[in-house]
Symmetry: none
Subunit: 213 residues, 4 copies
DNA sequence: CATGAATGAGACTTCATTCAT
DNA sequence: AATGAATGAAGTCTCATTCAT
């Protein structure tokens, strides 16, 4: 039954919900199609299980590895890198599956069940952003509602492009660069000014001492 | 035949490629299903046409309205706003359709035909970014390959969220805010450097005066 | 499409709803199974149509031939004979089909749609009984609710037995005998009362003589 | 194993043979589906057992309670009342099951095995009618083959109607009325006259004694 | 040109039944 | 004796597509 979920993940992520067939899942496992239905009430339920388990993995990975003692920027980079890594390992098919089917209003209607998962999935980032805003490191004049897509959106596109072009990407380098870019967008503008002013003050002090010397 | 494309766009964007049926398209038009096949070799070709025309509209809209005489930042904001507007007007179904089906590897395989369209579609932005890099306004130490998803990714997420939550969004305000955020990420750090250099000059002058004193 | 209904009637009446298959219906007609679904949304709807048309035929036959100018008893005999005839011609499978499926609460749930038909179907008899009660020919001290099964119930059993034993029956003779039997049950006990009254009169006379004696 | 038959009766009578599933029977008992097949060769055999036991109960109930010392009419009323009672207690599902499946010609083919049961089941009535004919109380000019359905047919319809309309019925009152109706149909026409004559004779005798007194 | 009619291919699903343990 | 696991066979239904008219 674990096998069915495993192969189910393969097929659903390769083909999407509609084009995936229970026939293919059974064939890849060398079992009868009926066996699939012994363990899952139907295609929809199997797919739901596949999605749920996949979300659980990511959520667990983020929760386990997030370096909470480090800076907000470092935690952001961890989240970005981890997402890139997990998605690339598991194939971006899952990404597409979730994004496409998670919002459909067809008979499959995975949407309702997927929504809470998505919330748990984005929770660590939302939490991080909120903490950053509270500490003044992240600009608070833009609602989280707009900051979240700023982080997840680009990752998704990068992943899809990586798959479409079949090109290997350097995950750490990409994560590092993206974090650098995103950080510029996210951090409080005042922080820059504050930093400069601090520098100027310090310089002034140095100069004063120099002049005095 | 124009009608078929028009209604095709409706149905494909509402249902996605797989769940859309030629039956429904014909029914909505009050014509025979066979008539659809008189004009289009098949479902796939019709969908391709729908996607193509939709891309053409966006490309044309961008090309026609892009304020080339204004600043790079202003042009960026125009592109962001225009995208949000067009997607929201036409329904985000088209967005999902293109994103989901444009990358699938099924028998429908719209991918190959869609790729060049996507290139044309992203061309204005790519061009703008390249010009920005050339003029020094946009940081050149990050490849366009990474800058592009930074722009399109968030827009997509914002749109999907808008649809999922059924919430109306203020397009201009959102575009303005997003541009502000993105610009911080995109603009050349040279601005900062310039400021630092200016400070250094000032500092040098001060030092000179100090020495002279 | 008429053919599909015709063969559908055959198969449904031979096999019952559950055991009838769309495959068999298509095969008997030498057409594709899909064709069946071109004309009928599903098995259930086809079966409904079969039942409806069959009811319509019987209802029409009764309505057309009922000798309204003759006596109530004669009309009763007509109804009995007509029923026996139609059921035996069309096979009692239809009878079983209607009786079995018309009351089921399964997924097929033909019940709701069949109920009004049954009402129309029994209407002529109900009407006749009511008229008989009004005219005093049929006993009015028993509700129609109990008189109706008295007529239809035996016919059904006779038919089933005829089919089960594969024995040919003389329809007119059977109808005649059954009517004779039923009539004794249905007719107003006034005849008996008359006899009793006569007896009372006679008795009175006897008593008178006795007293006189 | 007794449990399997008991629950089997429930499920078969609720759903009918085709719609009943071994899965459901096992589930209601909280046992494995395979266990059912440990005790019964298959669904068909289990159903046969269910029907057999049910018939046995009815046959026994009739045999045990039949008031052989009372009049033929009283015995008829007992049979009618007992049937109504047993069917309504056990649910009319059994009635439908027997009637529908007992005559089908499918792969399940319960028919052959059920036929002898039905014979035993109708035997008490047949016997009673025969005795009635012999004693002159029941008209002998109509074969039993036609008298039997006259009794069982109406009962069946009454039962089905009771189930269809979900209406509770007064069993004794219904049995009484039905017997009254049926008796009019069954009794020998001459019997009426004979009864009246007997009454007159008796009366005459009484009167004679009165006059003599 | 438009279409009514037909259909091949295949999807999901159900279920009685088997068998090794 | 009881069962967990598996499945063959079959069923209903969908849908893009064809073709004669």
């Amino acid at each position: 039954m674990r096998d069915i979920v495993r192969v189910g993940r393969e097929v659903f992520s390769e083909r999407g919900y509609e084009r995936a067939t229970t026939t293919e899942i059974a064939q890849r496992l060398g079992i009868s199609e009926a066996t699939v239905f012994t363990y899952f009430r139907g295609k929809r339920e199997l797919c739901l299980r596949v999605i749920t388990e996949w979300y659980d993995e990511i959520i667990a990975a983020i929760a386990a590895g997030l370096p909470r003692h480090k800076s907000v920027r470092a935690q952001l980079e961890f989240i970005v890198a981890t997402h890139l890594r997990l998605f690339l390992v598991h194939g971006t098919g899952m990404c597409a599956l979730v994004l496409s089917e998670g919002r459909s209003k067809g008979p499959s209607d995975l949407g309702d069940a997927v929504l809470p998962l998505q919330r748990r999935y984005t929770a660590p980032l939302m939490d991080l952003l909120a903490r950053g805003q509270a500490s003044g490191e992240i600009r608070a004049d833009v609602p989280l509602r707009l900051l979240r897509p700023l982080v997840f959106g680009p990752m998704e596109h990068i992943l899809w492009e990586a798959v479409a072009t079949q090109r290997r990407i350097d995950i750490d380098a990409t994560a590092s660069t993206m974090t650098e870019l995103l950080w510029n967008a996210l951090r409080a503008p005042s922080a820059e000014l504050a930093a400069l002013r601090a520098m100027r003050s310090e310089l002034g002090a140095v100069l004063d001492r120099a002049q005095a010397g």
